[in-house]
Amino acid sequence: MSSSELLQFLISGLQNGAVYALVGLGFTLVYASTGIINFAQGEFFMLGGMLAVAGVRMGLPLPLSILAAVLLSAGVGVAMERFALRPRRDSGALVLIIITIGASMVLKSLARHIFGPNEMALPAFTPGPPVLLLGAAIDRQVLWIWGLTIVAVVGLTLLYTKTKLGRAMRASSLSHDAARLMGIDTAGVVMISFGLAAALGALGGAAVAPLTQTAFDVGARAGLKGFAAAILGGLGNPIAAVVGGLVLGVLESLSVAFISSTYKDAISLVLLLAVLFLRPQGLLGKSGREKV
């Protein structure tokens, strides 16, 4: 294999990896604020792509469609927390997780009902020939995916480290009771986490839709990959979710290059199991929880 071919595989890996990272960040945000896995996270990825397509078909300009898709998805995430999860929040993690599985089925069925069963394409954000880099061709949409991922990660990091809301979110993730004693409205923090998680998933779904097409049923696969990314990096830590996503994307891509494309999807499952067995805290997680 020539070095430019290898580079091409690497680029494709980092492209998928960035999308996994966005979805994985959603898992991590919700886990940090609630301690549960939101199995509807993949459906926000689906909603992002589908709503953007719907916007374009309604005649909205592309950037506005994407923005509307992300905001609407965030609204669905907030509504899901408020109306499906919060009424049952004292019922324990298992009940809440099952509710998220139910919510994912509802969202998927609704999407099929509203948008139909067919695959749909979103126009490229900026059409044009691929950009050449050291003999490898990079689709312009891939640059968009990378750029949006970087903006999302930097924005999230600033939110977490520089703002009062971010500080309240970190405090709530350590202990709801302690955070409430500080006067933090932890229920509001949880709702915001669901909204942000949905927005990130939707952004990933809209950004990748011009390359891969989208349909009502793309959520499950995206959810699985994002979940694997978050677990691989170490749940609860945003940077870890990004690293996990990129590592997963590159490993998948290399497995296509060196083994066979047949096993591409199996890679994430194998990695997921291996991490859960061998290093449940993830690549970047600390062993054991810090407690004071």
Partner: protein
Amino acid sequence: MPEPLLAVTALDVGYGHVPVVREASLDVSRGEIVTIIGANGAGKSTLLKALAGLVRPTAGRVMLDGHEVTGFAPEKLVRQGLALVPEGRMLFGPMAVSENLALGAHTRRVAAEVAADLERVHTLFPVLAERSEQPAATLSGGEQQMLAIARALMSRPRILLLDEPSLGLAPKVIADIFKVLDALRADGLGILLVEQDANLALKHAQHGHVMRSGRVVMSGTAAELADNDDVRLIYLGAWHGNE
């Protein structure tokens, strides 16, 4: 006599159907330390948790400065001027000392006032200024207790609830902490202090209550309780001689 800052009347607290505190009544006024002593499991911590809103009382009434606050959520009670230094301190371990203090001031709106209060807690506990950027979890036990108290003070409470502040600390550190509590009391703060070390508690408090099996079984001035034969025998370890 002026209205007490905190007035608790016949409060019942329980988890599920298991009653832990029954018909607890007590008052705390401005500039006063009131202590609750009693053995482990007597319901002292549960009573404090209920007063701070972490557990909902099942019956009874809590008045804060003349306003009913029974069953209020903790985030609401902080805004009403009640702060709890909880059992086990519940610091945000991975976060810096300065961030823990900033979280204590979460409900505050005026930055200049927060800055002034930060200076004040740094004066009360100078070690916190030195350790400002260290994660809270890396502090010693005594420093962590100081941080927990300082964090509660950052909300500028009118009444401070303290759950076992002396637990596991060296005598010198305990003395430092209680010197600060005495000073805060002198400044007009009302303090409700739960302590296992009854000697220590009665030395610093003005009033005291003894809890046994979820009930307040004895109340009086700190001096009366310290002189009471039952209290001396059971809680002050009189059989060891006077320590």
